[in-house]
C-alpha cells in the first residue's frame, strides 16, 4: 500500500496535529502555555513505564498517560490562574525546564538515557481515529456552552465574569484538558518511536508545538492542524537544505509575523461567503 517512510510521516503528522490541538484548547481560554512538551513527556513516560515495567496493555497505558498529563495540568493550571499572558508563558516555560532537569536525575525512570524498547503499538489507525474524534469534538464545541464560555473568557475575561461565566472553572478546565490531550499524544508518541528520553520533551519541543498554532492560526480549530501538517512536512521537504534547515525555520517565523501574524487560517477561510465576494461582479465594480 504505502511505503514505510510515508506511513511514518503520516503518523507524525497525526500526532503533531493532536499536540497542536492540545495547545489550541488552552489558548482558547486565553492561556498561553510554552511548556506543553512537559505534559506530552509526562504522558509518554507514564505509558512507557507502565508497559515496559508492568506489562499493561496499550489502551490502558495510553489512558493512564493522558490521565497523568491531565493531573499535572490541573496542578499547574490551578495555581497559575492569576498569571496573565507573558507571565503565564514564562511560568509554563519554567515548569518545562524544571521537569526535564528533574527527570534527567531520576534513575528509576531511566535518567538521562531514557526508556528503551517500548513496544511499537501505535499505528496510523489509532492516531487518525483519535484525531477524527478530536476534530468532531472541536466542531461540536464551537457553538456549545463550553466553546462559548472559552471564547468569552479569551475575548474579555472581566466581562465574561460579570456575565456569570465561572472563569476559574473554565480556565482550569481548558488547561487540564489541554494537558490531558498532550499526555495522550505523548503516549502515542512513546509507543511509536519506541525510545524516549528527557531531551525529546525540552523547551524546543514546546516551542515547536507553539509554532504549529502560530503558523496555522488560532482563529479556527482547523488552523493548528494545518500548521502541524505543514511544519511536519517542512523538514522532509526542506531536507535538501541539510544544515541550513534551522536557519530557514527560524527565519520563517520572522517572516510570518511580518506578513501574516494571525496565522494562515482565519475564521472565514473556509466559508463560501468570504470567497464568493471576490467573484461577485457588483462587489468588484464597487472596489476602488
Amino acid at each position: 500500500m504505502i511505503d514505510a517512510y510515508t506511513s511514518q510521516v503520516l503518523t507524525f503528522i497525526g500526532i503533531n496535529s493532536i499536540l497542536a490541538l492540545s495547545l489550541y484548547i488552552t489558548a482558547l481560554a486565553g492561556q498561553l502555555s510554552v511548556g506543553h512538551a512537559a505534559f506530552m513527556g509526562i504522558g509518554a513516560y507514564t505509558s512507557a513505564l507502565l508497559m515496559t515495567r508492568l506489562g499493561w496493555p496499550f489502551f490502558l497505558t495510553t489512558a493512564c498517560g493522558a490521565l497523568m498529563g491531565g493531573v499535572f495540568g490541573f496542578c499547574i493550571g490551578l495555581p497559575t490562574l492569576r498569571l496573565k499572558d507573558l507571565y503565564l508563558a514564562i511560568a509554563t516555560l519554567a515548569f518545562n525546564i524544571i521537569w526535564v532537569v528533574m527527570l534527567m536525575n531520576i534513575e528509576a525512570f531511566g535518567g538521562a538515557l531514557g526508556i528503551f524498547n517500548v513496544p511499537k503499538v501505535t499505528n496510523n489507525w489509532t492516531v487518525y481515529i483519535s484525531l477524527g474524534i478530536l476534530l468532531l469534538f472541536f466542531h461540536r464545541m464551537q457553538d456549545s456552552r463550553l466553546g462559548r464560555a472559552f471564547r468569552s473568557i479569551q475575548e474579555d475575561e472581566p466581562a465574561a465574569r460579570a456575565m456569570g461565566v465561572n472563569a476559574v472553572y473554565y480556565k482550569v478546565y481548558a488547561f487540564t484538558l489541554g494537558a490531558f490531550l498532550a499526555g495522550y499524544a505523548g503516549a502515542l508518541y512513546a509507543h511509536f518511536v519506541t525510545f524516549i528520553s528527557p531531551h525529546d520533551f525540552e523547551v524546543d519541543r514546546s516551542i515547536e508545538i507553539l509554532l504549529f498554532v502560530v503558523l496555522g492560526g488560532a482563529q479556527a480549530f482547523i488552523g493548528p492542524v494545518i500548521g502541524a501538517v505543514l511544519l511536519t512536512l517542512a523538514p522532509e521537504v526542506l531536507r535538501f537544505l541539510a544544515e541550513y534547515r534551522l536557519l530557514v525555520y527560524g527565519l520563517m517565523f520572522v517572516v510570518i509575523m511580518l506578513l501574516r501574524h494571525e496565522g494562515l487560517i482565519e475564521e472565514d477561510t473556509f466559508s463560501w461567503k468570504r470567497w464568493s465576494r471576490t467573484f461577485r461582479r457588483e462587489d468588484r465594480a464597487a472596489a476602488p
Binding site: 498561553l32 495555581p79 497559575t80 492569576r82 498569571l83 499572558d85 507573558l86 507571565y87 508563558a89 514564562i90 511560568a91 516555560l93 519554567a94 515548569f95 525546564i97 524544571i98 532537569v101 528533574m102 534527567m104 536525575n105 523547551v203 516551542i207 507553539l210 509554532l211 502560530v214 544544515e243 541550513y244 534551522l246 536557519l247 525555520y249 527560524g250 527565519l251 520563517m252 517565523f253 520572522v254 510570518i256 509575523m257 511580518l258 501574524h261
Partner: protein
C-alpha cells in the same frame, strides 16, 4: 571554601546582572521580552573572538568591538521584530524573536561549528589574597568592568537628559511622544544599550569560564528571564540585585548540591516567585 564560592558567585552574578539589565531595559520600555537577547550575548562573545583572532586586536579593543557589534545587532532586531509589530499583538514580537534566536543560533553553529572555543588570550591568573577571600586577576577585571558599566548605566539613566527621556518613554510611550520625545529613536537607543550590555556580558562570561559556544546564549537568555522576574520586570535595581543573587545561588548549589540540578534551581525559584509575587521582589504591584 565558602569565601571562594562567594567570590565566584559575585563574578558570575555580575555578568548575569548585565544580561538582566538588557532584558529589563527592553521590557521597561516596550513591555516585551526580546527572546533573542541570549543570542546577542553569544554573538558579542564571538565578535570579540573574531577581533582578537583575525584582527589581532587586544582584548580591550575586542571588548569595545563586541559591544558595538552587539549594539548594532540589537538595533537591527528592533527594526525587524519590534517596530513593525508594535501594535499588532503581544505575541507577535515574542514569536518573531524566538524565530530570530533559532536563526542566529544555527547561523553561529554553521559559521563557528558546534563545539566550544576559547579566547586565545590568557589574562595572567595571579591570585590575590584578601583575608579569607582568594580572587584571581581575571575575576577582578570582570568585576571591575561589570560594576563599572552598571554604575555608568545608573548615572546615565538618572542624570542625563537622554536617560530621563528613556524613563519617560518607559512610563508611557504615548505621553512621552506627546511631550516631544522622539520615541522611535529612544527605543532604538534602548535596544542598542541593552544589547551592548548583553554583548559585554557574553565576553566576560566567556573569559570567566574560558569557553564560548554557539549554544551559550540559550540557557543564559532563559536565566536572564528568571532574573528579571525575580527582580521585577522593568526594574533596574531588581535586575542587578537579581543577577547577583542568581550568581550566588548557582555557584552555591553547584558546590553544595549536585551540579545537575543547577539549572533547575534558578527556574524553581522563578516559578515560586511567579506564584507568590508575580511582580517580582522589587516590582510595583500593577493596579
Amino acid at each position: 571554601m565558602l569565601a571562594q564560592q562567594l567570590v565566584n558567585g559575585l563574578t558570575l552574578g555580575s555578568t548575569y546582572a548585565l544580561v538582566a539589565l538588557g532584558f529589563t531595559l527592553v521590557f521597561g520600555i516596550l513591555g516585551m521580552i526580546n527572546f533573542a537577547h541570549g543570542e546577542i550575548f553569544m554573538l558579542g562573545a564571538y565578535i570579540a573572538l573574531l577581533l582578537v583572532t583575525m584582527g589581532g586586536f587586544s582584548i580591550f579593543w575586542a571588548l569595545i568591538g563586541g559591544m558595538v557589534g552587539a549594539a548594532l545587532l540589537g538595533m537591527i532586531i528592533e527594526r525587524v521584530s519590534f517596530r513593525p509589530l508594535r501594535n499588532v499583538s503581544i505575541l507577535a514580537p515574542l514569536i518573531s524573536t524566538i524565530g530570530l534566536s533559532i536563526f542566529l543560533r544555527s547561523l553561529a553553529q554553521i559559521i563557528f561549528g558546534a563545539e566550544s572555543t576559547r579566547f586565545p588570550v590568557s589574562i595572567k591568573t595571579e591570585f590575590f589574597q584578601l583575608g579569607p577571600f582568594q580572587i584571581s586577576l581575571l575575576q577582578i577585571v570582570i568585576l571591575a568592568i561589570s560594576f563599572g558599566l552598571m554604575a555608568i548605566f545608573q548615572a546615565f539613566i538618572k542624570k542625563t537628559k537622554i536617560g530621563k527621556a528613556m524613563r519617560a518613554t518607559s512610563e508611557s510611550l504615548y505621553t512621552a511622544g506627546l511631550l516631544g520625545i522622539p520615541v522611535d529613536r529612544i527605543i532604538l537607543l534602548s535596544f542598542a544599550v541593552a544589547s551592548a550590555l548583553g554583548g559585554v556580558a557574553g565576553i566576560l562570561l566567556g573569559l570567566n569560564f574560558n569557553a564560548i559556544s554557539p549554544l551559550m546564549g540559550k540557557m543564559v537568555g532563559l536565566k536572564g528571564l528568571t532574573i528579571i522576574i525575580l527582580g521585577g520586570m522593568g526594574n533596574i535595581t531588581g535586575a542587578m540585585v537579581g543577577g547577583l543573587f542568581l550568581g550566588f545561588v548557582e555557584v552555591l548549589s553547584v558546590g553544595y548540591l549536585t551540579s545537575s540540578y543547577r539549572d533547575a534551581v534558578a527556574f524553581a525559584l522563578m516559578f515560586l516567585v511567579l506564584l507568590i509575587r508575580p511582580t517580582g521582589l522589587f516590582g510595583r504591584v500593577v493596579r
